[in-house]
C-alpha cells in the first residue's frame, strides 16, 4: 500500500497538502467514495425509506437495507436483523443501558473497566442510579493491562452486565475480549463490547468474540457523522423493550398501547439516516478494497515509527504499554513542565493536529494520576512524514515554552 495513492483518496488533503492529521481516534477523514455515496443518495435515491411504495422509496429502502447487510457482513453478525442503526457509539451504549437495563434489579452488579470512555461509563452509572444496581470497576495496571485474574476477581454471581472497550482510546491497549466475554458468560452476565476504537482498525467478528452487544461509530471509520451501529444478539434484542419510540418501530397503535415492529426496526424510531448508512456501506467497501491485512500492516509500521520517534524525545513520557505493539496506533503522553493544551497549540502552529485533554476518560486519568495528556492517533492514510513532523515539532516545544533544554 503506497503512501501516496491512499492519501489521494481523501479530498481534505488535496486542499491541505501539508496537513498532519493525527487525531484519528477522535474522527477519521473521509475518502471521496464515501462523500460521493452520500451525494449520490441525495441526488438519485432520496426518499423516506421503509415508508413508500413508489420506486424511489423502494430504492431508498433497498440501499438502506443493503447497508445493514454490509455492516452485518463486516462484523460477522449472524443476520442483518442484529444490526441496529444509531447515531453513534454513545447512543448504541445508551440503548443497551436503557433497554437491557430494565432487566436489572437492586443489588445486581454492572462491571466496567477504569479505562472506559465516558460513553461506556456514564450510561452505566445512570443505570445503577435508576435500578439500584452497583457499578463496579476493574482496575488496569500502569501499563494499561487488565489481567484475567483481575477480571475473574471482579466478576461475581451478581454480575449481570459486563461492558468493556476492545481498544482503549487513551492507551491504545487491546483487551482480550474473547476471554473476558467467555468468563462473563460463565458468570451469567451479558458482555457489551465498545468497538469504537477497534472496529476501524482490526477485523472484528462478533461471533468469534461471542459478545452479546457491540457498539461503534461510523465517523471513526471513514463514514459520515450521524451514523452508528449497535450489534445485538437476536435472542437478546427480541426480549428487550424498545428504547426510542415513534414512527416505524410499531406494529399496532391504539390509544391505550402499542405493539412493536420486528427486529431491527423495533429499535429505530423515526426517519432513519439512510444517507449515513449508505456512506457507512461505502466506507466498508473501501476497507474491503484496501484490505484489513494492508491496513493493519501499515498501521503497525506507523505505530513502530511513532513509538520510536516519541521515545527519543527528552522529557516525553508515553502512557501505558512499553512497546509499539501495545498501542494500536494510539499514543498518550506528557512532556515535563508543559501543559498538554500548550503542546497542542504549538503543534497546531506547526500544522500538526493532535488532541489534548482527558479524552473523555476522566476515571482513567484519575487512576493514572495525570490531569490530562496529549494524544496522537494514527490511521493507515497517514504518511511517515506525518510522524516525523509530529516528533520534530514536539522536540521544539520545551524550548519554545522558555525552557533551556
Amino acid at each position: 500500500m503506497a503512501d501516496l495513492n491512499i492519501r489521494e483518496d481523501f479530498p481534505i488533503f488535496r486542499d491541505n497538502p501539508s496537513l498532519v492529521y493525527l487525531d484519528n481516534a477522535a474522527t477519521t477523514q473521509k475518502p471521496s467514495c464515501v462523500i460521493e455515496a452520500v451525494r449520490h443518495f441525495y441526488e438519485c435515491d432520496n426518499a423516506n425509506p421503509l415508508r413508500g411504495l413508489y420506486d424511489l422509496a423502494q430504492r431508498a429502502t433497498a440501499v438502506y437495507e443493503e447497508s445493514r447487510e454490509a455492516v452485518a457482513g463486516f462484523i460477522g453478525a449472524a443476520s442483518p436483523e442484529e444490526i441496529v442503526f444509531t447515531r453513534n457509539a454513545s447512543e448504541s451504549l445508551n440503548l443497551v443501558a436503557y433497554s437491557y437495563g430494565t432487566f436489572l434489579r437492586e443489588g445486581d452488579e454492572i462491571l466496567i473497566s477504569v479505562m472506559e470512555h465516558h460513553s461506556n461509563l456514564i450510561p452505566w452509572q445512570q443505570l445503577a442510579a435508576r435500578s439500584g444496581a452497583v457499578l463496579k470497576f476493574i482496575e488496569c495496571g500502569i501499563d494499561g493491562k487488565i489481567t484475567e485474574e483481575a477480571f475473574r476477581q471482579a466478576l461475581s454471581p451478581r454480575t449481570k452486565i459486563v461492558s468493556m472497550t476492545q481498544i482503549s482510546n487513551v492507551l491504545g491497549i487491546r483487551n482480550d475480549i474473547k476471554t473476558f466475554a467467555r468468563l462473563a458468560h460463565e458468570a451469567g452476565a451479558v458482555f457489551v463490547c465498545d468497538g469504537a476504537q477497534s472496529v476501524p482498525h482490526i477485523p472484528v467478528d462478533v461471533q468469534d468474540l461471542n459478545v452479546d452487544f457491540l457498539a461503534f461509530s461510523g465517523h471513526k471509520m471513514l463514514a459520515p457523522m450521524g451514523i452508528g451501529v449497535l450489534y445485538g444478539k437476536k435472542v437478546l434484542l427480541e426480549k428487550m423493550p424498545p428504547f426510542l419510540t415513534g414512527g416505524e418501530m410499531i406494529e399496532y397503535v391504539t390509544r391505550e398501547g402499542a405493539t412493536w415492529a420486528e427486529l431491527p426496526h423495533k429499535f429505530e424510531a423515526g426517519t432513519v439516516n439512510a444517507a449515513g448508512a449508505v456512506g457507512l456501506k461505502a466506507a466498508i467497501e473501501y476497507y474491503q478494497i484496501v484490505g484489513f491485512d494492508a491496513i493493519q500492516k501499515r498501521e503497525e509500521e506507523l505505530s513502530e515509527l511513532a513509538f520510536d520517534a516519541l521515545s527519543k524525545i527528552p522529557h516525553l513520557h508515553i502512557m501505558g504499554g512499553s512497546t509499539a505493539k501495545e498501542h494500536n496506533g494510539i499514543f498518550s503522553f506528557s512532556l515535563d513542565g508543559v501543559h498538554p493544551h500548550d503542546i497542542a497549540e504549538i503543534l497546531n502552529a506547526d500544522g500538526v493536529c493532535i488532541r489534548a485533554g482527558h479524552h473523555c476518560a476522566q476515571v482513567l486519568m484519575q487512576h493514572m494520576k495525570v490531569p490530562s495528556t496529549v494524544r496522537a492517533s494514527i490511521a493507515f492514510y497517514n504518511r511517515d512524514e506525518d510522524i516525523l513532523r509530529l516528533a520534530q515539532s514536539l522536540s521544539t516545544v520545551r524550548r519554545r515554552m522558555g525552557y533551556v533544554e
Binding site: G337, V338, H339, P340, H341, D342, E345, I346, N348, A349, D350, A356, G357, H358, P371, S372, R400, M401, G402, Y403
Partner: protein
Amino acid sequence: MSNSFYREIINEHNLRPLHKHILPRAGLSHRGINPSCGDDITLQLTIEDGVIAEGAYVGDGCAISQASADMMLDLIIGRTPEEALHLADIFLRMIKGNVTDEEVEELEEAGSLQDISHMPARVKCAVLAWHTLEKILEAEVL
C-alpha cells in the same frame, strides 16, 4: 494562532510566576475550574484598609491560564476591589474583542493576552483567573 504567541511574557509568567504560592492567612479564597481542559486555580486575597493588600494563587493549568493569573495579581495588588472589578471588566471585554486601545493600556502586561480573542479554544483559559476574581470581589463589594 501563531507560532509567536508563546512570547517571552507569557512564558516568563508561566515559568517564573511571582504570585504562585499559598497565603497562609488569606481572608478570601475561591477556586475556579475549567472542566473541559482541567485548568484549576485557587485564588487568595487579603483586603486591608479597603485595598487588596495581598494576593496569590495555586493550581494547575496551561501556560495561558497560569500567566493570566500571575499578570492579574501583578495588576490588582494595591488596588481597591472596585478598581480591580473595573479592570476585570476591561479584561473580559478585551477577550470578547470589545475594548478601546486606552482600555487595553490600563491592563498593563495583561493586555498582551489580547490575541486570545482570536483563539476561541483558549478563551476559557485566559479568563479563568479573572472570573474567579469577580466571584470573590462581587461577594465583598455587595
